[in-house]
């Protein structure tokens, strides 16, 4: 729900400012906020697992 409201605000601002926010979120946001950092640490293995699950067999084909 909060994502939708956040997007309502973000989509109205210039792309340079919007991309600055994304960059800040990546470079500083996660490191300065302990709960975000926790979430990031939790999320990374889940993302890795997800990409493996969709690509496991296809990757093998490419590598072979």
């Amino acid at each position: 729900m909060i994502d939708k409201e956040l997007w309502q605000i973000l989509q109205k601002i210039d792309y340079k400012d919007r991309y600055n926010i994304y960059q800040e979120l990546l470079s500083r946001g996660y490191l300065s906020n302990i709960s975000l950092l926790n979430r990031l640490i939790d999320l990374q293995p889940k993302i890795a697992k997800w990409t493996k699950s969709i690509s496991g067999s296809d990757k093998k084909d490419v590598l072979e």
């Binding site: 994502d3 994304y22 990031l40 490419v62």
Partner: protein
Amino acid sequence: MRKEASKLANNGNCLILGHQIIRVCSNYDNLIKLLIQVMERGTFSDMALDMIAFCILRNLIEKQEDYSKIDAEGFVNVNLNYLTNFASLFFKSFSQIDLEPLMTYYLNRIKDGDNYYEIFGLSTLLTSMFGF
């Protein structure tokens, strides 16, 4: 798979997922269509898709040196080729996503000169967007 992707993308961490998607797509071209299909039908919110557009641009900027290298036969970097294919399919599938940042980047790089490989990206993008 789609449900899991939706959960990962729409909890405010799509920048991390986007980075991973771009990394995978720039290495394995057979996964490009699959990943686009996963993102379709409302799985990813507009904000998540915009974050992926940001990740595409970020990857292009971060790896400029790698992408500028040509192989022995004079072809552009294979990873750039895959990334451009992904970007063109992405912007064609999600036309509501702001294309201006990427176009501005390409135009500025062309103005700088000596960046022939960027023209390749722009050409692929335009060809795909016009429906070829």
